[in-house]
Amino acid sequence: MTDMTYTIALMGNPNTGKSTLFNVLTGLRQHTGNWPGKTVTHAEGEFTYRGATYRLVDLPGTYSLYSNSADEEVARDFLLFERPDMTIVVVDATALERNLNLALQVLEMTGRVIVAVNLIDEAKKKGIHINTKKLAAKLGVPVVPISARNREGIDALLDTVDAMAHGRINTTPLSIQYSPDIERGIAKLLPLVKDIMGDTYPARWIALRLLDGDASLLQALKQPPQLLIKEGNAYACCGSVKSV
């Protein structure tokens, strides 16, 4: 198993210390550039842990995945088409409620998620206590408290990454219950989505986005964007791609 490489996507709101964590994990083994055809900065790096190599992709900081902006489109497309082996969502412990919005949206797209609750030291200073065990149980994915700038909790995070990479963690991602109207719409669309796209994509999430009239998603599904030039070779007409 020593030559295995796993891809990890790093997500989070702006100003949550996402890049600090990225730097802590990858050190100097990183390179930056632009996403093809976009003016969005692309940074990725590598690290090894217990014999496995991890490719860490620092996605742009966003508040949602609603493709309002180029940043959000890049983040969404990466999760959808590159399908990383796992996604670390960095949330700000001092503003957990707002940050969870993004985490919940990621959970709708993929279950292979680790939530890293960053700035836990600052939260403690402000008298905020977060019960991460309970949060993990509720979200159905591992939750690790960290302080990236103090390098606290990094080992625990890496252990979780290792466990998830080797299939030792089963996740049961929380599924948001929408209003009856929307749930009805999803139920009707779901078979159609599965019929057209198969099981390659998160069907419930796609149905939801289509209900919301997300034309940019439809465009992306029709013509999956070539996200990273160096490995853009395996595109079929309906865009099933598995990197690495």
């Binding site: 219950q177 929408y178 719409g185 007409c237």
Partner: protein, 464 residues
Amino acid sequence: MLAADQSNRFDRLMEEAASLAPDNTREQIVTAIFQTSAALCQECVTHKNSVKRDRTEQIDRIVTSKRWGFVIMLALLAAVLYVTIAGANVFSDSLARLFGTIETYLTMAFQAIHAPGWLHGLIVLGLYRGTAWVVSVMLPPMAIFFPVFALLENYGYLPRVAFNMDRLFKKAGAHGKQSLTMAMGFGCNAAAIMSTRIIESPRERMLAILTNNFVPCNGRWPTLILLSSLFMAAGYTGGWKTFVTAGVVVAMVLFGIVVTLTVSWALSKTALRGIPTHYTLELPPYRRPKIIETIIRATLDKSLYVLKRAVTVAAPAGILTWGLGNVHVGDTTVLAYLAGWLDPFAKALGLDGYILMAFILGLPANEIVVPTLLMGYLSAGALTEVDGLHSLKQILLDHGWTWLTALNMMLFSLLHYPCGTTLVNIYKETKSAKWTFVAFALPTAIAMAVTFTTAQLARWLGLI
């Protein structure tokens, strides 16, 4: 499978989805997510003694509430304007007297060196007097307004304004962030045009660009404040006078916001159709700004900057206006000829030829509209030394001004085409001559329509 076939199936899927979606899908989705997050935090997060955070939340609960948000916003704006107008009156007169004294010495100096009359006219009566008027009339309100406004800004109040306005903009089919770019427009429209970059959707960004100049910028605040204090509260005295003056300016700002929303709404239903996108607005905690530093910065950066701009543009304009006012064609001056030519049209708008010409010559910068107007009037015969607001009002009254003239000039100033710098920025940002022209023509048409209506209405009702 053929790509085209696949594409068609996607389109059908989208149509199907559209038919199933309830009206406020986005609202419902976002609400469900927010409620889930809130419920999770309720269970997993406990707070203790977080005093500072709580205080921000407590204040926000009031200043961004549906009931009090707008009331507080207007009250604060009125308070800032009240302080500005009350304070400006004190300084303006003494400043004007100072300039009057200096002018006497200048004239003596010119006589001492036996300078020709035209040179004295050009330099002292054109350049100096024009500039002196600008400084004595515009500096006092700016020196008070900008620092006070900056304090409010640095306490973190402006994002709350954006938060309050967000609902309205969304209803108008525009992006909530337009409330931020609009707030920026209160400072400078040209800068606000650049700031519309924060709006990602091209449609919503265009709305923000086209409607930005309906709020008064640095260059127009002084005009509004000045005219309001001269004409709008004539029947009142003392504190009430200041209060009414401030009230009129607040009403102007409100009217500008109403026009912004109406035009956004109309455009989003016609030329720029679409639905508003969703976004997250972070409300930073309130912070006590460094008060002295803020005041100094605002004075240096804004007051002096605007003044410098006004003077550097006004000085050549002063010479030009003086020249136009003293070059004779037949038995009349070029200036009087042009003003007379514009007059019938301007009168229909409740203005006069000189005012309209001042707006035209003021295209490069709104700051110079009032100075140009004064120079126009002064060169046309009624030569008055700079000695304060009272004589300023006398100049205007001598040229047939009424409260309606003042009101319409304020309205025209509020609504007319953006300044040259702003137009250049609009062209740079949109890369489209067509949209730049729209950004010029649309406000101008609205300004003309509104002033025409008020003028005709006032005359028809026999108010003047």
